[in-house]
């Protein structure tokens, strides 16, 4: 049979349980603006009933535990999308610096000096004997060489600063993996003790998300609550409570930092995250643009030299080189220089007669180089215009992908919010429920108290 003390006990337990509920609610409301916080829920359960003969009586409620509401699949997708965003953002950041060097919309690229060089030859063709015009050709050649040198210098500066970002990213990755390993251990411990590891998992997901912004992360559930993190290509980042540091070492030829994991060079295997975007700019985009500039400088310089050698200068002497260029295309844009300061050395004339300064035959052939396919099957200007297109479209493609990705990320985060976000209204409703239940239980205990009093009075 039931007892008053049993009923009093139920009421007291209930008050404790509702108190726990109020505590969870209060914690949820407190963390409404905490990034990465997943709302928690108090799990109430009825306690085991007792049997008195044919009668089974309930024994009240208990707070079994508190669980965090989060969807690990959404977390994974959030991380993956963040990796893409990180990569694209880093690429766009570098790409925007590069495209500013060749901003033909505002006339800061190579088109102006390239065109000016050929219009100076056009002028030379019109006045081949005029020393001022010849000086103009040398000045235009000088400006063109400077523009090539400057563009290379600027590209190298961007490459160096991106290289610095690579080292910084690796440093951040190492700091994050160290923190993740520590939190991983706490999740492991809490899980083994059967405790709610929610707060630690929140922290860990936040950290993994930050890590995802930097590098591609593949995660495997170790089964004990801890996660094993590797790069997509399998380089270990975190295993249980241990983190594996990435290191950087400068390449012996380029001097650029390569990324190593456990002694292996993984630079070319990094597939996403900011680090991948930075490497893409540093190791692919800039070298590719550089090699186009080199090809342009090399082929243009060589063709001009060959044609100048075919003519005769103002003194009737066979022409020499107008440009000094390296023996191979590589390094030509940075190495190109004007070979002479003597305006008479420009071979405008087609014949050796020294007394014919009006002969413009070779000046015309020099000028005709502008419409000849001397740069890998393209005219100099078309080769440059194609380069401009490539630079612009690489950035613009990355921007479209970034925008599409950021919409996807926003949706995923909304879905995560739908699962894990704290809703003030919901918490308020819970608060009212717990308050009511608490007050009711308190009322019950007060009634039981008066009943006990009645019983005691009866005995007197």
């Amino acid at each position: 049979m039931g007892s008053l003390s049993g009923a009093l006990n139920i009421a007291l337990q209930s008050m404790l349980a509702e108190q726990g509920g109020i505590e969870v609610t209060s914690n949820n409301i407190a963390n409404v603006n905490t990034p990465g916080y997943a709302r928690q829920r108090a799990n109430f359960a009825e306690t085991d009933p007792v049997r008195f003969g044919n009668v089974t009586l309930g024994t009240g409620v208990e707070l079994q535990g508190v669980s965090s509401l989060r969807d690990s699949i959404l977390d994974l997708r959030d991380n993956q999308e963040t990796q893409q965003q990180g990569q694209l953002n880093a690429f766009i950041n570098g790409g925007q610096q590069i495209q500013a060097l060749f901003n033909e919309a505002s006339g800061t690229g190579l088109q102006a000096p390239l065109t000016a060089f050929f219009t100076s030859l056009s002028q030379l063709s019109a006045s081949p004997g005029d020393v001022n015009v010849r000086q103009g050709v040398l000045t235009a050649a000088q400006n063109l060489a400077n523009a090539f040198n400057q563009a290379t210098n600027n590209l190298t500066t961007i490459q160096r600063s991106t290289d610095l970002s690579v080292s910084q990213s690796v440093g951040q990755i190492n700091s994050l993996t160290t923190q993740i390993a520590a939190v991983n251990a706490q999740v492991q411990t809490a899980t083994s003790l059967g405790q709610n590891a929610g707060a630690f998992i929140d922290q860990r997901q936040q950290l993994i998300n930050k890590l995802s912004n930097l590098i591609d992360v593949s995660q495997i559930d170790a089964g004990d609550g801890s996660l094993t993190l590797t790069t997509n290509s399998g380089a270990p980042l975190v295993v249980g409570a241990q983190s594996f540091q990435l290191t950087t070492q400068p390449d012996s030829t380029t001097g650029l930092q390569h990324v190593f994991s456990q002694g292996t060079d993984i630079t070319s295997q990094i597939a996403s995250g900011e680090l991948a975007g930075q490497l893409q700019i540093r190791d692919q985009e800039i070298p590719s643009i550089q090699s186009s500039l080199d090809a342009l400088a090399y082929n243009l310089g060589n063709s001009v030299n060959l044609q100048n050698q075919a003519g005769y200068d103002l003194n009737g002497v066979k022409g020499g080189n107008l440009f000094n260029i390296p023996a191979t295309a590589a390094g030509s844009a940075s190495g190109i220089r004007v070979a002479t300061t003597d305006p008479t050395k420009i071979a405008a004339s087609g014949g050796p007669a020294p007394g014919s300064p009006g002969d413009n035959t070779n000046a015309n052939t020099l000028l005709a180089l502008q419409s000849q396919t001397i740069v890998n099957g393209q005219t100099p200007l078309n080769a440059y215009s194609n380069l401009v297109f490539k630079i612009g479209s690489d950035v613009s493609n990355a921007q479209s992908n970034q925008q599409a990705g950021s919409l996807a990320l926003q949706q995923i985060q909304n879905l995560q919010g739908a699962v894990s976000g704290v809703d003030i209204n919901e918490e308020a409703a819970n608060l009212i429920r717990y308050q009511n239940a608490y007050q009711a239980s308190a009322q019950v205990s007060s009634v039981i108290n008066s009943l006990l009093q009645t019983t005691l009075n009866m005995v007197q």
Partner: protein, 299 residues
């Protein structure tokens, strides 16, 4: 039970605000610069097309500049040749008069003196310069083409037979000179030889020789007139090229505008819409964020 939605509306609202602000910024930049392409990535294809467009415009400008100085040079050569024609015409009429049997020897000698004067005038004209370079010395433009021997009145050509070509427009070449030897001392007409012979024959009073010299002078006259046509044609070509280039510049600048120019009316509308959208989003955000919650009703 309905599906739970994300209770935190702020990120979405912030994205909307950012979006409308970005649209405002883009429209403002386009209005300020007058261009729809401000960075390569705004429109890579248009940016690449701008490269050749700007190149073409600069080339056209250079061609126009070249052509205008070429034109002046051609005009200067042409007007010199028109003076040459007058000199030769005068020589022919002196010769014709001097060949008349009624003219006295003294008159013939006076005529010879005039012819000598014409000869030196002609040499002066044949040595005409434009901006410091000789017009009729072939490509030896710094060499004085003709020298007159003061004793024999014989004239020697020191230039060469070079002919220059210049591009008027892309790939369109025009020859820009006729060598002096061809104008004044060719087999079809030797102006200096004719005047020298006319002088000698007038001095000697040999009528047959005077007649022969007049024929020579007439030949020289027709040779100069024929060669003058070259300059007329060249000037026509330069004129044609100039109108082509001016037309081309107009189309290039209109192409540039199509490629990279901002449609001001459209951009202004975009700006107004973006501002409206921004205000609407801000007002909505303000209201949504200050909505009461259930907590406000707990007493």
């Amino acid at each position: 039970m309905s599906i739970r939605i994300n209770p935190d509306l702020l990120p979405d609202l912030l994205v909307s605000i950012q979006q409308s602000q970005q649209n405002e910024a883009i429209a403002t930049q386009q209005l300020a610069s007058g261009r729809s392409v401000n960075q390569l990535s705004d429109n890579p294809a248009a940016a690449a097309a701008l490269v050749s467009n700007h190149d073409q415009q600069a080339q056209d400008d250079q061609f126009l500049q070249n052509n205008s100085s070429l034109m002046t040079r051609l005009q200067s050569a042409d007007s010199t040749l028109s003076n040459v024609v007058q000199v030769l015409t005068r020589a022919v009429s002196i010769g014709t008069e001097g060949a008349n049997s009624t003219v006295s020897a003294a008159d013939q000698q006076a005529m010879a003196q005039e012819v000598q004067g014409l000869q030196s005038q002609l040499v002066g004209m044949a040595n005409s310069t434009y901006q410091g370079t000789y017009l009729f010395s072939g490509t030896a433009i710094t060499t004085q083409p003709f020298t007159l021997d003061p004793v024999t009145n014989a004239v020697t050509y020191n230039g060469n037979a070079g002919v220059s070509s210049t591009q008027l427009t892309d790939g369109n070449f025009v020859k820009t000179n006729v060598p002096g030897s061809q104008l004044f001392q060719s087999a079809s007409g030797d102006a200096f030889g004719a005047l020298q012979n006319l002088y000698t024959s007038l001095m000697s009073g040999n009528q047959a020789n005077i007649g022969a010299a007049v024929t020579q002078a007439q030949n020289a006259l027709s040779q100069v007139s024929i060669q003058r046509v070259f300059y007329g044609n060249a000037m026509n070509q330069v004129n044609l090229a100039e109108s082509f280039l001016n037309q081309d510049k107009i189309s290039l600048s209109s192409q540039e505008n199509t490629l990279a120019g901002a449609d001001l009316a459209e951009t202004a509308t975009n700006l107004a819409q973006a501002q409206l959208a921004n205000q609407a989003t801000l007002s909505a955000t303000g209201r949504i964020l200050s909505l009461p919650t259930l907590l406000d009703f707990i007493k």
